[in-house]
Symmetry: C2
Subunit: 206 residues, 2 copies
C-alpha cells in the first residue's frame, strides 16, 4: 500500500493556504464548520499537518481573525489625496466590495461572537477597532482643519462616533441584505448623511 504523493510547500505559503481554508470553512458553515479535518480537506492536505504549523486549533483561529480584521481595515487606513478625497475614499471603500459583502459579515460575526469569550480574540479585536476609529478621527480632523472649522478634540470625537456608527450600520445593512439596495445606494446615502452630520459638502474626486 502506498501513500498519496504530496507537495512540500514553503512555510509562508502553506500557512497562508491553511488560514484561507479556515476562513472558507467559517464562511460556509460557521465556526462549528471549521474543524481541523474540514480545514485540511479544504486545503488539500491531511489533518495532522495543521498541528505542524499551529500549536492548537485556537491558534489558527486567532491568526485567521487577524487576517479578517486586516482585510476589513487596511484599505481604508491607507487612503491618499486631499482631505476631501481621503474622507470620501474612506467612506466608499467601507461600503463597497471587497469590504462589504456577505462573506465578510459571516466571518466578522463568527469571530465577534467569540470575542467576549476568548481574551486573546478580544485583544486582537480591540487593536483593530481602535486603529480604525483613530484613522477616521484623523481624517475628520484634517478635513475640518482644511476648511478652517472647529476641529477641537471633543467635536472630532463626537463626530467620529456618529460617523463610525453610521458606516458600521450601513455596512451591516449592505452585507445582510445587499440585494435590497440598488448599486451604490448605500454609498450615496452615506455620503449625503455624513455631509449633513458635518454640515459641509465633501468634494468629489477630481
Amino acid at each position: 500500500m502506498s501513500r498519496r504523493s504530496f507537495h512540500r510547500a514553503p512555510e509562508a505559503e502553506r500557512r497562508h493556504d491553511l488560514i484561507e481554508a479556515t476562513l472558507d470553512c467559517i464562511a460556509e458553515a460557521g465556526l462549528q464548520g471549521a474543524t481541523v479535518r474540514q480545514i485540511a480537506i479544504k486545503a488539500g492536505v491531511t489533518a495532522g499537518l495543521i498541528r505542524h504549523y499551529f500549536t492548537s486549533k485556537e491558534q489558527i483561529l486567532q491568526e485567521a481573525y487577524r487576517v479578517v480584521i486586516a482585510r476589513l481595515t487596511e484599505k481604508a487606513e491607507r487612503v491618499t489625496g486631499t482631505p476631501d478625497e481621503r474622507l470620501r475614499s474612506f467612506i466608499v471603500i467601507n461600503l463597497t466590495e471587497p469590504v462589504a459583502n456577505s462573506r465578510s459579515l459571516s466571518l466578522w460575526a463568527s469571530f465577534i461572537s467569540r470575542v467576549s469569550v476568548d481574551p486573546e480574540l478580544a485583544a486582537i479585536h480591540r487593536e483593530g477597532y481602535l486603529g480604525f476609529r483613530n484613522a477616521l478621527e484623523g481624517l475628520l480632523a484634517d478635513f475640518l482643519a482644511s476648511r478652517g472649522l472647529d476641529a477641537a478634540p471633543a467635536r472630532c470625537r463626537s463626530l467620529a462616533i456618529a460617523i463610525n456608527g453610521l458606516l458600521d450600520g450601513l455596512w451591516l445593512e449592505g452585507c445582510l441584505a445587499g440585494e435590497l439596495f440598488e448599486e451604490s445606494e448605500l454609498v450615496s446615502t452615506a455620503l449625503s448623511s455624513i455631509e449633513a452630520l458635518i454640515g459641509q459638502p465633501i468634494a468629489p474626486a477630481a
Copy 2:
C-alpha cells in the same frame, strides 16, 4: 438504586426555561457552548428532556433565535405618544438597556453568523428585520407629516436607511465597547445626529 426526584413542570414553563438556558449557554460560551448537555445542566434537568420538547437541537436554536429577535425589537415597535415622543423613544430604547448590552450582542452575533448557513434562521431573521425597519419608516412618515414636511416614500426610505444604519452602528459600538462611552453619550449622539439628518429638532418628552 434510586433516581433523583424531579418536578413536572407545565409545558409552557418548561419550554421557556429550556430556551432561557439555551440563551445563557450561548451568551456565556458561544454557539459551541450550547450543547444539549450544557443546556440541560443550566436548566436543571437531564439531556434527554430536551428532545422531549424539541424535535432536534436545530429546533431549539431556532426558537431561541425568535426570542432574541423579539426582545431586540418588541419594545421599540410599541412606542406611544406624539410623533416626536415616539421617534425619541424609539431611539432611546434601542440604545439603552436591556436592548443595548454585551449579552444582546453576543446572542445576536452568534445567530447572525448562522443566518447565511441555515435557511430557517434566515427566514426568522428577515421577518424581524423588515418589521423593525417598517416600524422606523412609519415613525418617520408620521414625524415628517406632523411638521408638514415632505414625507414622500423615496425620502422616507432614504432617511430610514440612514437612521436605521446609524442606530444599528451605535448599538453595535455601545455593546462592543460600552465602557468607552459615558452614560447616555450614545443616546445624545444619536439624537443630535438624527436631528441633523432630518433637519428638524425632536421635541423632548413632556
